[in-house]
Structures are given as structure tokens and as C-alpha cells.
């Protein structure tokens, strides 16, 4: 998104402009939800964390000083809340042994020309579910770094800023994540 427009929306939110809040949600909800979904592995938790993220953002938006990009800041809040959520869920699962419901993938929307047939859509959804279950097996810190790089498409520098980690650590987490994922995908005969 245009940096200038981005800054304008943020400033408007800081001033308390009621329309700016909805605009800001619209601008960043996909980025937040996408990371949360792949981090947590199911749609329900991802929606909860997305909501939590925006509450946190608006509660602290006055403390945002334009020196970093707002998108980086949003990613940082999302990342922290995802990690918190996973820690909490781990405790819950350990204590209650409650089953975790995994994401129910929906097929992507059809494109008008050369629309894929239903079998292809189903196969694609199944494949994504398989990949997600491989991602779920990764250590959460490795998964987070890998998702920021290979799914969200951020640069190593941006990730280092989001996670507040040296570049070397970021690279090694991503490499480890990729190696581990490759192993999982090979086990599932996807690679």
C-alpha cells in the first residue's frame, strides 16, 4: 500500500477519526489473518487472534511513532500474539487433552476464464491442508520466521526488525525451518 496514504490513515486514527479505524482494519486484516492462520493452523484461532491484534493495535496506536513502517509494527503485534496463543494452547492441551480442531480449508474462488474444475480445486485445498499440517510440526520460532519470509514475502531486514533479532539469527531460523519442512513434505510424499 502507498506509504503516504498509510501514514495518513494512522495519523487520522491517532486523532480519533472514526472512519479511519475501519479503513485501517480493511488495509491490514488480510496480512494479520494470513500470518495467524498459517501460524496457528486453524481458522477459528486465527480469527480470534486477528481480532485480538486489532484491539491491541488500537489500544496502543498513540505510542506508534512513524520511525518504523506501520506494517512492520502490525506484524510485530501479530507475531507476539500468535506466540502467546500457542504457549497458552500448549498448556491447555497438556492439562485437558482437548483435541485441537484443524483448519477446514475452503477452495479458492474460481477465476472466470479457464476456471479449474472442482476436482482440481479439491486437490489444491487438500494439498494446502497437507502443507499446513507439515508446517504445524515445525518449532514455532522457526515456523514464524519461515512464514514471514516465504509466505508473506518480507525481506530478511524487515523480519529482523519485526522479531527484534540479529540478521544471522533470522537467516538460521528460516534455513532450519525450510530444512525441517522439506523433511516433513518428503515424508508426506509431496516432495
Amino acid at each position: 500500500m502507498d506509504k503516504k496514504l498509510q501514514a495518513q490513515i494512522v495519523t487520522a486514527c491517532q486523532r480519533g477519526d472514526p472512519h479511519a479505524y475501519e479503513q485501517l482494519i480493511r488495509c491490514y486484516q488480510t496480512q494479520v489473518y494470513s500470518l495467524a492462520l498459517r501460524m496457528l493452523g486453524n481458522a477459528e484461532d486465527a480469527a480470534d487472534v486477528t481480532q485480538e491484534t486489532f484491539i491491541r493495535i488500537f489500544r496502543t496506536i498513540d505510542s506508534f511513532r512513524g520511525d518504523a513502517s506501520f506494517s512492520t509494527w502490525v506484524y510485530r503485534v501479530t507475531s507476539n500474539l500468535c506466540l502467546d496463543w500457542l504457549r497458552r494452547r500448549k498448556r491447555q492441551v497438556l492439562s485437558s487433552d482437548a483435541p485441537v480442531s484443524w483448519e477446514h480449508e475452503t477452495a479458492p474462488r474460481e477465476v472466470a476464464d479457464n476456471a479449474p474444475n472442482p476436482e482440481d480445486l479439491l486437490a489444491a485445498a487438500e494439498l494446502r491442508q497437507e502443507i499446513q499440517s507439515a508446517l504445524n510440526e515445525l518449532e514455532s520460532y522457526h515456523r514464524l520466521a519461515l512464514l514471514l519470509r516465504d509466505v508473506q514475502g518480507l525481506s530478511y531486514e524487515e523480519i529482523s526488525e519485526i522479531l527484534n533479532l540479529p540478521l544471522g539469527t533470522v537467516k538460521s531460523r528460516i534455513n532450519r525451518g525450510r530444512k525441517q519442512l522439506k523433511k516433513m513434505l518428503q515424508q508426506k510424499n509431496i516432495l
Binding site: G16, E22, Q29, A47, I55, F58, D62, P108, R128, L135
Partner: protein, 181 residues
């Protein structure tokens, strides 16, 4: 680090130090994404032509990255946006009220300060005759909104606790005041 300067006339000279597998793996992502120089490309090709393992690594990483790219979500599920808007409403509302209260209180305090200054000047108090920093700044401010550096506030007018955090410009903590006429 491997070296590039031994290449001459785009041909690898005999005895050139070839890339190790480790060096290649460090650069593998650049190779796959095509972000490398012509010289680097020569080293990559030279290594790959003699290393089955790295060729397999390239194929695996390329496939993994392409699978991951498809994992990005292009849109949120229906209904989520409305749910978020509703959930943040109380937070937004509270913040708006808070900032309104702050603005109101600031205005009251500013007018109190202004009144004090007027009184000081009227009784021809020494500070009034020879204004200290605080009075000087007040007189220089435009009528409606002005910025005051905390240093300019005299000890009798301390309201830093609530208001100093409202603005920071070039590392200076500034206080925005609504000065009443």
C-alpha cells in the same frame, strides 16, 4: 567467502577455487530467485555441473518455496471484518473520550496560565516587566494552537504528568496546548 576476481574474460581459469557446497547453499536462495551477478552465475553453474547433491537441493528448495507461496491468504473469511470492527468499538470509543477529556483539561489549564500572566503583567510584577522564558513563549504563540517546550513552563504550572507524552518531535517531548484568547 569465495572469490570472484579470479575470473577473466568470462572463462573460469584453470585452478580457480571452486565453490564449496556450503558456500553454494548459502547463496542458493539468490540462485533460485535469480538475484546474482554474471560472475556469480559462473560460479553457480560450475558448482552445479559437478554436484548432484546441490542440484537436488535446488530442486527441493524451488518446489518448497513454490508450495509455500500458495499458502498466502488473499482474503479474510466473510464476516470477520464486521466482527473486528465491532470488537474494537469500545477501545476506540474509550480512546476518543480520553483524548477529548485531555484536550478539554488542557484548554482549561492553558486559560488559567494565560490569566495568571495577564494578572502578573497588570500588577507590574518583576517577571512581567522582564519576562522569563515562560511568558516570552506565551506571547509568541499564535492565538489558537501553540507548542510549548516543557523547559518553558514555570514551576507553578507543572502539568507534565498527563500531557508530556502527547507529542514527540525530533526527540523533544512537546506539549500541545490549546490557548484560549
Amino acid at each position: 567467502m569465495w572469490e570472484l576476481y579470479r575470473i577473466k574474460n568470462v572463462k573460469i581459469k584453470k585452478g580457480v577455487k571452486s565453490m564449496s557446497c556450503r558456500n553454494f547453499q548459502d547463496k542458493m536462495e539468490d540462485y533460485i530467485k535469480g538475484s546474482f551477478s554474471q560472475h556469480e552465475g559462473l560460479y553457480f553453474d560450475e558448482h552445479l555441473s559437478g554436484c548432484d547433491k546441490c542440484r537436488q537441493r535446488v530442486a527441493d528448495l524451488r518446489a518448497t518455496l513454490s508450495l509455500l507461496q500458495d499458502m498466502a491468504v488473499r482474503e479474510v473469511p466473510p464476516g470477520l471484518e464486521g466482527r473486528i470492527v465491532k470488537a474494537v468499538e469500545p477501545v476506540v470509543h474509550r480512546q476518543r473520550n480520553q483524548s477529548f477529556r485531555i484536550r478539554k483539561l488542557t484548554a482549561i489549564m492553558a486559560s488559567a496560565v494565560a490569566l495568571t500572566l495577564v494578572v502578573l503583567a497588570a500588577v507590574n510584577y518583576p517577571w512581567g516587566a522582564q519576562p522569563g522564558p515562560s511568558t516570552t513563549v506565551f506571547h509568541k504563540q499564535p492565538a489558537s494552537v501553540g507548542r510549548l517546550h516543557p523547559d518553558y513552563l514555570s514551576t507553578s504550572n507543572r502539568f507534565e504528568v498527563d500531557f508530556y507524552r502527547t507529542e514527540r518531535v525530533n526527540g523533544l517531548r512537546l506539549l500541545r496546548l490549546n490557548i484560549m484568547e
